[in-house]
């Protein structure tokens, strides 16, 4: 294996991981953009999507149908969370809403453990998606699910771009993100926009959860927590609340993580997560608006 092949392999891995982070971070950013809510429960919506697929395939539903149902289940979960837990405290301070979302996470994960136990279950992946591909005589390998992750991220984000720039609802969501009360004043139905934002964000979380489980091969009630924390970092690196920022942040974080492990000695790379969160703290301190919103002011 040549040096170049090794680097190319790491780039493939980084793009694949970055796509997943970008998908999760985009959902976080949609919700944060509209509501200024740091939504911890987003990771559990991922879990709902992945478990939905695992359970449906388990009772004999074809995989593609199960995926669509899983995404739908995630969207419904997001809608319910907004309706039950977040709407009553919409005017509460930032921190109170952040804590509420932590409590929602706590509830969903414990319900998951109660119903499914905390031991991981197999995620049923059709053989077509499990085949690996080789390039330059086996020096670079990737599986179909890697390719599918990258392709689906690309397509779904194009779709999102079309939605928020070309449809009335999408434009309304951006208006609400800019200034909620002004959006209300010009006659937009803010409640409806927030619901749409949650449903769209949760559908993305569902898709991300399914892809995450497909790459990991297992589902588990607490599976959403780690990707959620990483997606936070990605979203803040890019600029929290900005969809383009989430995308940029996701790929930067994916590359950072893969390259730390690939190119640094193991005595350093075992501290990967510490480095990642140190980067998060550095961004919060030096550039709280992230890469794409450099001018956002920080309140003392």
């Amino acid at each position: 294996m040549t040096q170049l092949d090794y680097i190319l392999q790491q780039i493939v891995n980084a793009v694949s991981l970055g796509s997943l982070y970008a998908l999760v971070a985009v959902g976080l950013s949609i919700v944060f953009g509209v509501l200024k809510l740091t939504n911890f429960a987003h990771g559990d919506v991922m879990m709902v999507g992945a478990f939905g697929v695992a359970l449906l395939v388990g009772i004999g539903v074809p995989f593609p149908v199960a995926v669509i149902c899983g995404i739908a289940a995630a969207a419904v979960a997001g809608f319910l969370i907004e309706r039950i837990a977040y709407r009553p405290i919409r005017d509460a301070p930032d921190v109170a809403r952040l804590l509420t979302s932590l409590a929602v996470t706590y509830i969903i994960e414990n319900v998951g453990i109660l119903v499914f136990t905390s031991s991981p279950r197999n995620f049923p992946l059709p053989d077509i998606l499990n085949t690996s591909w080789e390039m330059s005589n086996g020096a670079i390998t990737f599986t179909s699910i890697n390719l599918l992750t990258i392709a689906l991220t690309f397509v779904s984000l194009l779709l999102l771009g079309w939605f928020i720039t070309r449809t009335t609802t999408g434009l309304g969501m951006r208006a609400a993100a800019e200034d909620m009360s002004a959006a209300h004043l010009v006659g937009l139905n803010v409640n409806r926009l927030i619901i749409v934002a949650f449903i769209v964000a949760s559908a993305y979380a569902g898709l991300a959860g399914i892809l995450w489980a497909a790459q990991a091969g297992v589902v588990q009630p607490q599976m959403g927590f780690t990707p959620l924390l990483k997606a936070f970092v990605a979203a803040i690196i890019g600029g929290f609340g900005s969809i383009a920022g989430a995308l940029v942040g996701g790929y930067i974080l994916g590359a950072l993580e893969i390259f730390i492990v690939a190119f640094l000695p193991s005595s350093v790379s075992s501290y990967r997560d510490a480095i990642v969160f140190a980067v998060l703290i550095a961004f919060l301190l030096v550039r709280p608006g992230g890469l794409l919103q450099p001018n956002r002011e920080i309140k003392l």
Binding site: T38, A85, P88, I89, A92, P93, D94, V95, A96, L98, L99, T100, L102, A103, V104, Y106, I107, N110, V111, I113, L114, F225, L229, F232, V233, I236, S270, Y271, R272, D273, A274, F277, A278, L280, I281, L284, L285, P288, I298, K299, L300
Partner: protein, 349 residues
């Protein structure tokens, strides 16, 4: 009776009652109830330490459990008996192998080193507000966890850290609780305490009247971290063995629930929150083991108590966001000024 005399009386009564519980309870109550009282007092120290920055200064830290973990490990490393140290932690630096500290000095060193860590961490982080500081301190918690898992020469890594002498008895915890309450009450109801609340309520107005926002926040953060470290040491000597994940999100969530439920701007509120949540989870824990009513058997539902606590948390957030006590203190009316003083103050206004 003058106000000062009544406050002195209140403090004396509290001290006598605390001492009576500390030394009397083990003779009267079963081990199970003594353990519950001990855990309540221990959690009260941890929640009070948390309330200083999160409640009174308005810097909502999600990272205090990182300080608790640091305190637990520091105190554990210092106080494992010398003979066992070689076997359990063979790669420690030699100067740490040479000695082992008794409980009290180990706890003090743990508290001081944790406070030092808080100075280093807090100096940059206290510039942040709102959810920024929550997310940043959460990042600190994760970093502490990663370091505890990877610094295996000191912590045995993800494996259980064991061999810490079981020295945390009820009198020790009650003693430390008394010190914590005393220091925090002196601090919170002093001019500096007013500065803390001013920083919390309106940062701009506070700095406009000359209060150093960063300084105030940092002092509250560091003192809270000192008591978190002390509490961590007590925790370590209570458990005897623990792992990095003992001091992670589950403990964070449980302490925050206690603080928010009790009321974030009140010392007695923090204690009330601890008592409510602790008693409630004891009851729920015995319920979730399963029971029978007549012919109807309720199966064991492990984890159900956590779910109930989560729902209570959300309900408090929705219907009583200031918690049970809000920012009032439970003083049985003994600290109020006499009616005549109140009237003169009214007239001045």
């Amino acid at each position: 009776m003058s106000r000062e005399a009544r406050i002195t009386l209140l403090v004396l009564v509290a001290l006598v009652a605390g001492a009576a519980v500390a030394f009397g309870a083990p003779h009267v109550l079963s081990d199970y109830f003594v353990r519950i009282i001990l855990l309540i007092a221990l959690n009260a120290i941890l929640v009070l330490a948390l309330s200083l920055s999160n409640g009174f200064t308005g810097v909502f830290s999600l990272g205090h459990v990182g300080f608790i973990g640091a305190g637990a490990y520091i105190s554990g490393i210092l106080s494992i008996p010398v003979q066992q140290k070689m076997a359990l932690l063979p790669h420690l630096p030699t100067f740490l192998h040479a000695f082992s500290l008794p409980f009290l000095p180990a706890t003090l060193v743990a508290g001081l080193l944790t406070a030092l860590l808080a100075v280093v961490v807090g100096y940059p982080l206290m510039r942040l507000s709102g959810y920024f500081v929550s997310v940043a301190t959460m990042g600190f918690l994760i970093i502490v966890n990663v370091v505890l898992i990877n610094a295996s020469d000191f912590t045995r890594g993800a494996r259980t850290f064991t061999g810490v002498p079981l020295e945390t008895t009820l009198p020790w915890v009650m003693g430390w609780l008394a010190i914590t309450v005393f220091v925090l009450a002196r601090l919170v109801y002093s001019p500096f305490g007013r500065a803390m609340k001013a920083v919390r309520d309106d940062t701009i107005a506070a700095s406009a009247v000359g209060i150093g926002v960063l300084r105030t926040r940092l002092i509250a953060f560091v003192i809270g971290a000192f008591f978190s470290g002390v509490g961590g040491s007590l925790y370590a000597h209570y458990l005897g063995s623990f792992s990095p994940n003992t001091f992670y999100f589950a403990l964070t969530m449980s302490l925050i629930t206690m603080l928010v439920l009790g009321g974030m701007g009140s010392l007695t509120g923090a204690v009330v929150g601890v008592i409510c949540v602790s008693l409630l989870s004891e009851v729920l824990r015995s319920v979730e083991r399963g029971f029978t009513i007549g012919d109807f058997a309720v199966p064991a539902l492990f984890g159900a108590s956590q779910i109930v606590l989560g729902f209570i948390f959300i309900l408090v957030m929705i219907f009583r966001p200031k918690g049970i006590m809000g920012d009032r203190e439970l003083t049985f009316g003994l600290t109020q000024r006499s009616a005549t003083v109140n009237q003169t103050e009214e007239r001045k206004r």
